[in-house]
Subunit: 176 residues, 2 copies
């Protein structure tokens, strides 16, 4: 599965009424606590990969993200499996991986047609809007990306607002 994703800075108090206006449904709220790992043998910052354990309310998911596949969105391969959080962290530490950083956020999730909309309030970074489409086939990437930017135009957002820097990079104070 490939996740086509666009992220922008956004004032949630301005986005909420617009979401309501277009009939978006709130489908969940998650308190997400993410721990990112560094590999002992390659630099994920250079290879543009990420390995993360996300904890959300007693459950945990291990996620691998491959390199971004284009220059304007955050489209990339994502692989996810449920895991036991503490043991999985111990396994990666035993394998020589180390903790690269942590990101904590409150994520409100909405569905608007086929688009997933996330209002993220990230500890230490502020408020963001993320929109997502899941794509099975690489040939649909561009059309999906166009759909997302068309969707975002309703909120007064355009391509130049797109942020490709990850929350982790922002937390670590890196520049894109």
């Amino acid at each position: 599965m490939i996740e086509v994703e666009v992220k922008v800075r956004a004032d949630h108090s301005k986005i909420r009424p617009l979401l309501e206006k277009i009939g978006a449904n709130k489908i969940g709220v998650e308190e997400q606590s993410d721990t990112y790992f560094s590999a002992p043998y390659r630099d994920f910052a250079n290879t543009d990969e990420a390995l993360r354990i996300r904890s959300l309310g007693g459950q945990a998911v291990l996620t691998y993200k491959g390199p971004k596949l284009d220059k304007v969105s955050k489209t990339r391969e994502e692989l996810e499996t449920p895991v036991d959080e503490a043991t999985t962290a111990k396994i990666f530490r035993a394998l020589g991986f180390s903790e690269a950083g942590a990101v904590r956020k409150k994520r409100e999730i909405f569905r608007a047609g086929e688009v997933i909309v996330c209002l993220d309030a990230v500890e230490g970074l502020g408020e963001f809007l993320e929109v997502e489409l899941d794509v099975e086939d690489e040939k649909d990437l561009e059309s999906s990306r166009e759909k997302l930017f068309e969707f975002l135009s309703q909120f007064g957002v355009d391509e130049k607002d797109s942020i490709r820097t990850s929350y982790l990079e922002m937390v670590l104070g890196k520049k894109n």
Copy 2:
């Protein structure tokens, strides 16, 4: 958790009546299909570690085994978490790990007091007997190992019969 474990070659048809005689309870039968991974940055055969995904009847477990902690048994740290099998294999491949080999076996599991007894019929290798005790504290390793060899003496097995070579190493044709 540390697993104190002793493995020996054994003819199951001779072990079964003895297990019955000492009142061991059969607690399960598993068809285990194990895939072992190699790391791109260190040789698990040299470091005496193992990383494995075990599939058993639709469920899967990721296991890391640390180096053996003594010279006569297979005692080592074990870390285990339930995972989605196919996705976890994809994650490790994406991280640069590769499949080192596979072991398939039928394992019948018995409990005799605090000892777990496994009758393993391993594809291509034959029949084995494994006995196990789980230990919380490293100071109990030696006494647990002694308990296991005392337990095994009932089956006419002693320390010199102990095999420390893993099934994977045997499958790959390595010598201990």
